[in-house]
């Protein structure tokens, strides 16, 4: 029965559900990304218990490479602190900033994009010009200014990152709303007397979710990169261990002591890559044209 209807373009209208997950798990790169992310999360939350070293303690002579006697696994940095302990403990800052920033990005971006796309006209014009103001600002520079002005607490760093990255999501949400608001089921919902709020939240938004989930995943990778960038420039909280801060503090020694920057760099790379792979996987999984391949 359902096979007969597949040719009618009806499958494009099917809700993404179990089928999407099946597609996702058949995508090797996406599954690899998921495992990488799980690895990073495990390392961040269980690592400190398994490898119980304080990343701020000076444990050996500075700038000793891995494999040297009496030096921890991944060597020591320019102050003689344990690089492995730093990598293990530094993930929390990144993941926390990514989570808070993503929440903020979704809240601002989806609200502005939805209102803009749904109402159109003057409201759309005003909101999109407002969005462009944020979009044309160089992301890192703007985040730097915010942090420099208001101080480098993790919350403020997250807010700064959220403020520079929300326009991407706002534009995507608006595009989805523009596409969906003229669909017949929206007219049908209006015809039974649904309010605007109900149509935005319960009728259009669930249909716009797949691309928004993908974009949010990708934007989280961007947020982690931005956080690392700020920390590298010394604009993170200097009292919190973070990968970006480790690279920034050791950057003068990186030619002679590669291990001080390589391992935190690798950690950033793996985390951002995992978000990227998951995002790509979700994109393919939600794309009905690729289904059943």
């Amino acid at each position: 029965m359902s096979d007969l209807m597949l040719g009618s373009g009806a499958e494009a209208m099917a809700p993404p559900g179990r089928e999407a997950w099946r597609m996702f798990f058949r995508n090797k790169a996406a599954v690899a990304g998921l495992f990488l992310l799980l690895g990073v999360i495990l390392m961040t939350f269980l690592g400190p218990y398994v490898y119980d070293e304080d990343p701020k303690d000076i444990v050996a002579r500075p700038l000793k490479g891995p494999g040297t006697e009496d030096v921890p696994g991944l060597g020591t940095d320019y102050l003689g602190r344990d690089v492995l302990a730093g990598v293990v403990n530094g993930g929390l800052t990144s993941l926390r900033v990514a989570a808070i920033a993503a929440a903020l990005i979704v809240m601002i971006g989806v609200t502005i994009g939805a209102v803009s796309g749904f109402y159109g006209g003057v409201i759309d014009n005003a909101l999109m010009r407002f969005t462009e103001v944020f979009q044309v600002l160089p992301a890192l520079l703007f985040a730097m200014v915010v942090v420099a002005l208001f101080g480098p607490s993790p919350w403020k760093v997250s807010i700064a990152i959220g403020l520079v990255l929300w326009p991407q999501l706002a534009r995507l949400t608006r595009a989805e709303f523009l596409r969906l608001k003229n669909m017949e089921f929206v007219k049908a919902a209006q015809a039974i007397g649904s309010s605007d709020l109900r149509i935005i939240m319960r009728v259009i938004l669930p249909n716009a979710l797949p691309p928004l989930i993908v974009a949010t995943t990708l934007v989280m990778g961007g947020a982690i990169l931005l956080e690392a960038g700020l920390a590298f420039l010394g604009l993170g909280d200097a009292n919190e261990v973070s990968w970006g801060l480790m690279i920034g503090q050791n950057r003068t020694n990186f030619i002679t002591s590669w291990w001080t920057v390589t391992f935190p760099g690798l950690a950033i790379f793996v985390t951002v890559l995992s978000f990227s792979l998951i995002g790509d996987g979700l994109q393919d999984a939600f794309n009905p044209k690729l289904r059943g391949r």
Binding site: S2, A10, M13, G120, M183, E184, F185, G193, P206, N207
Partner: protein
């Protein structure tokens, strides 16, 4: 060209007077008038682009939402259950929300796209119920089930949990009708409800609509370009072309003795059994100038 509409002694439930709707500089509906009596079926016929759907959307006041349409002038008089007449053109958006679905309901041409793909049909019918009636989710589901039964969906308990894409076009249109009728509206506007369906399903849906109309004594305004559909369901007919009413009258008058050349052409466009006998190709015909 615009003919007189005879007003009957019984006051109509819906009366459109000199309605003009524009999209930018384009006039889609140009000063049309007609009326719909209680318990009657009015067919609005005309070719694509004649302003039929815009008229329907204007009555629901949906023409201004999402599109650039504007009701330029005219009145849409609706007589409520208590006999009070309101002009829907002047109503606020809040007041219109109480009218839509509750007093006047609408079903659309494309049953494939007029249901939300991410919810089960049971949820969607229940949602329509809850919009206008103070019912809990449980009772709303019960009412939805009853509606699904009334539109003769087989296995309604099971069908409730299905998504629109798991249903055939005919079933989906039944769900749409169930949604539209769930709050007992007094007027049902059907915008080409059977155009997207094949002929046997079309007959079923029309039969269903006729039965439901009888049991509920609702007024129906059906929009179509299919004279076959008109002959089957309509009491009154309004023929539209290029945003204007060309001819109006009872279904017998229109079929028996069409006054306007456009109406005659529209009727002639229906193929008659045997008219092709002895030919291999359809006969060419002249397009009627408006």
């Amino acid at each position: 060209m615009a003919p007189e509409i005879e007003t009957e002694a019984s006051s109509p439930i819906l009366e459109v007077r000199n309605l003009t709707v524009t999209f930018g500089s384009f006039t889609a509906v140009d000063g049309i008038s007609f009326s719909l009596d209680e318990g009657q079926t009015l067919a609005v016929v005309g070719e694509s682009g004649s302003g039929k759907s815009v008229t329907a959307l204007s009555i629901m006041r949906l023409v201004e939402l999402g599109t650039r349409g504007r009701i330029e002038s005219g009145e849409i008089l609706y007589r409520g259950a208590n006999g009070e007449v309101t002009d829907l053109v002047q109503e606020s958006e809040d007041a219109m929300r109480q009218v839509r679905g509750n007093q006047i309901s609408m079903i659309f041409q494309e049953p494939l796209t007029s249901l939300n793909p991410v919810y089960t049909v049971g949820d969607q019918v229940a949602e329509a119920v809850m919009l206008h009636q103070r019912l809990g989710r449980r009772e709303a589901k019960g009412r939805a089930l009853e509606m699904m039964r009334q539109v003769r969906i087989p296995d309604p308990e099971q069908r409730m949990g299905q998504y629109p894409h798991e249903m055939s076009g005919g079933m989906r249109q039944r769900v749409m009708i169930a949604m539209a009728l769930s709050c007992d509206p007094r007027v049902l506007i059907a915008d080409e409800p059977t155009t997207a369906l094949d002929v046997t399903i079309q007959a079923q849906i029309l039969g269903l609509m006729r039965d439901l109309q009888r049991t509920r004594s609702a007024a129906v305004m059906i929009i179509t370009h299919d004279m076959g559909v008109v002959a089957e369901v309509a009491d009154q007919v309004v023929v539209m072309n290029q945003g204007q009413v060309v001819e109006a009258g009872s279904v017998f008058d229109i079929f028996e003795d069409p006054k306007e050349p456009y109406t005659r052409a529209l009727l002639a466009a229906v193929p008659r059994l045997g008219s092709m006998a002895g030919r291999s190709d359809p006969a060419p015909f002249d397009l009627v100038a408006p």
